[in-house]
């Protein structure tokens, strides 16, 4: 059975200390002041040597003969499960710890490193990886992964209107993207669109292009106002006849497996497991705050923790925390043994943990009463932030259909 090792606990304590010293005191600035999260995230990376580790891992990966495999080993390669477990578990610790105070930071970081850089690393040529991915992995540059459009959300590929048209050896890109994490500030954007060859839209190939901020015809909007996740800047992207060479087409080929749709689905699976780690951090923090409040807040002459209806909330929060932690541990164990969760398993994990986070954070607001509704007590922010976990990385309704379809296929 997996459990956090002594080293992982030490890392947790160190990251928690950093977050409580560097981020928690500046919460209002990040929440209400439009201060982008990147400077403090870079400080986090430098403080713990994550930029150096990213550079070393990048080099190791490129030095491999197949250029792939990553840290978990390539096909048929023997890697000690404990080493694999550590490799999977380690990045989850900063996610959990950041989410205790500022889940938006994780979204900003995850999209830049986990989605944008990962997409370039999995689909790009070696030249493209060196040109764009390394700076993203070290956080020297910020990335955005642009798939969603005003009229294409859950039906990402079916309703996608963004296009690439061939023009000699080059492509002309057009389209609008929305709800793009890091969109307002991204240096590097992976733009997903359909190759328009005059064929029907549902038969068009899906292509990924890499754009740099400031390219002619490429505009990035200011941050959009939203319900929560204020420390993660979200924006729109507008492309008007953006001319790019083949060097910006990921993989430098139009011939991608599954018409380009399968690769994006693999990305969804990773994204969904990250949501569980986020949920755990938010639940853990709420539970900690609620237990403390239940002991200190006195009503009718006794601490409110003495009341059974308050106890019921605390107990349910603890059950949610244990369940989400167990899901995460199971995920780590699966990968530690060289396997991959199915898309349905990743969906189940995302569905349950996001729902648990929403329920726990709202219960925390209720337990705090009027104080819970006030910003000062933090739980209202976590409740607003938690809601997005049910919406992004595939809505929970989409997760349910994935799980059900998987069951019906058996």
């Amino acid at each position: 059975m997996f459990e956090w090792t002594e080293e992982q606990r030490m890392i947790r304590d160190a990251v928690r200390q950093f977050v409580e010293a560097e981020i928690a005191p500046r919460r209002d600035e990040f929440e209400f002041g439009d201060t982008p999260p990147y400077e403090v995230l870079r400080k986090l990376y430098k403080t713990f040597g994550l930029d150096v580790m990213a550079r070393e891992q990048f080099k190791r990966r490129l030095d491999r003969p197949d250029g792939g495999g990553g840290l978990l080993g390539g096909d048929g390669e023997e890697v000690d499960p404990k080493v694999r477990a550590n490799t999977v578990a380690m990045p989850m610790i900063p996610i959990i710890e950041l989410c205790r105070h500022s889940p938006g930071m994780v979204t900003a970081l995850g999209v830049s490193v986990g989605l944008t850089a990962a997409a370039i690393m999995s689909k790009g040529t070696r030249e493209q990886q060196e040109r764009w991915a390394l700076d993203l992995l070290t956080l020297d540059k910020i990335g955005a992964w642009a798939i969603t459009e005003p009229n294409s959300g859950s039906d990402a590929f079916g309703s996608m209107l963004s296009t690439a048209r061939r023009d000699g050896d080059e492509y002309i890109l057009n389209g609008s993207k929305t709800f793009i994490t890091n969109g307002p500030y991204a240096d590097t954007v992976v733009f997903i669109c359909k190759l328009d060859e005059g064929n029907p839209p549902d038969q068009r190939k899906i292509l990924h292009f890499v754009l740099d901020s400031g390219m002619p015809g490429f505009d990035q909007s200011p941050p959009l106002r939203k319900m929560g996740l204020h420390s993660s800047p979200t924006g729109q992207l507008f492309l008007t006849d953006v001319r790019v060479g083949r060097d910006r087409l990921l993989g430098e080929t139009e011939e991608v497996s599954g018409g380009g749709r399968e690769d994006a689905k693999a990305t969804f699976s990773i994204e969904r497991s990250g949501v569980a780690a986020m949920a755990l951090g938010m639940i853990d923090r709420c539970l900690e705050l609620c237990v403390q409040y239940a002991k200190e807040r006195v009503q009718f002459g006794q601490p409110i923790g003495e009341f059974q209806l308050v106890q019921e909330k605390l107990a349910r929060m603890e059950v949610a925390r244990l369940n989400v932690e167990n899901l995460l541990f199971r995920y780590i164990e699966i990968l530690a043994h060289g396997k991959q969760p199915t898309l349905a398993e990743a969906s189940a994990m995302k569905l349950y943990s996001s729902h648990a986070a929403v329920e726990v954070t709202l219960d925390a607001v209720q337990l705090f009463g009027g104080n819970g509704y006030m910003s000062e007590f933090h739980v209202e922010q976590l409740a607003r932030d938690a809601k997005v976990l049910e919406i992004y990385a595939g809505t929970n309704e989409i997760q349910m259909t994935h799980i059900a379809k998987d069951l019906l296929r058996r």
Binding site: E6, E7, M10, I11, A14, Q17, F18, T47, F48, G49, L50, V52, M53, M90
Partner: protein
């Protein structure tokens, strides 16, 4: 330059501490952590070794039950190795007995400089740095807020109530550092992962050539006769305003000699 940092492992101050009713000493049964006040010495030692262009930091610690959790934290920050003295005979050691044990361990490391905190966060005696210096026969400088090592000398700004004194001593020397001396670094992920494999030399009292009679309860020259709860803070005085409240407040402040 080789630096020894005395690193105390103490019960987590965030958890409620408990006294043994018989010995009137702090219970140290559970996991121990690095005393926060020693993190400054570790950081200073690392910076001095780095600046000197060579050498390393060795931790010296005396703790029960082979406890290394606190040492791992300092090793993760960058210390190269540790000497841990753990022996049942050490139970009940007073500060002089502790100084004898640490001095013997420090000699083994043959350092150029020894750094300590000004006092520990659990015992607060503040006696150890001077006792170490006496036992080792080395100069002692206390309350350092800034340290430089040049030409075989430690040049120290020594914190005083008014400001600081500039003092220096030939090496090897014992210097106690304040919390203002440097900002301790966070251990890097790599540092944490490497800490487990760094050497911790576990030794007993006999290994250090000391007699069990010199340490622990037998060797203690200090006896804790009683421990009483700190006096509760008295309730403040409430001044009812009958038109003269401002004068009474001024009088009160004058009595305190703050105006």
């Amino acid at each position: 330059m080789n630096v020894v940092v005395c690193a105390k492992q103490i019960p987590d101050p965030a958890a409620p501490g408990e006294l043994d009713p018989n010995t009137k000493t702090l219970k140290r049964e559970g996991k121990l952590i690095l005393d926060d006040s020693d993190a400054y010495g570790v950081e200073m030692g690392l910076q001095l070794a780095d600046k000197a262009g060579g050498g390393e930091v060795t931790l010296v610690s005396m703790a029960p039950h082979d406890e290394v959790s606190g040492l791992r934290t300092a090793l993760a920050m960058g210390a190269a190795k540790a000497i841990l003295i753990s022996d049942d005979a050490l139970q009940g050691s007073d500060s002089l007995a502790t100084a004898k044990v640490l001095a013997a361990a420090i000699k083994r490391a043959e350092p150029d400089l020894v750094l300590t905190a000004t006092e520990s966060t659990d015992g607060y005696t503040g006696l150890l740095p001077a006792q170490l210096a006496e036992l080792l026969g080395w100069p002692s400088i206390t309350f350092a807020k800034h340290i430089e090592v040049t030409d075989g000398k430690a040049k120290v700004q020594r914190q005083t109530e008014e400001g600081y004194d500039e003092v220096e001593a030939p090496l090897p020397a014992i210097v106690s550092v304040t919390a203002g001396v440097v900002e301790p670094r966070y251990p890097s992920f790599k540092g944490i992962m490497a800490a487990k494999n760094k050497p911790v030399d576990q030794v007993t009292v006999a290994d250090l050539g000391l007699s069990a009679d010199d340490v622990g309860w037998k060797g203690a020259r200090q006896e804790i006769t009683d421990v009483v709860p700190a006096e509760e803070r008295k309730a403040g005085e409430i001044v009812e305003d009958e038109g003269d409240a401002h004068e009474r407040i001024v009088q009160f402040l004058e009595q305190l000699k703050v105006i």
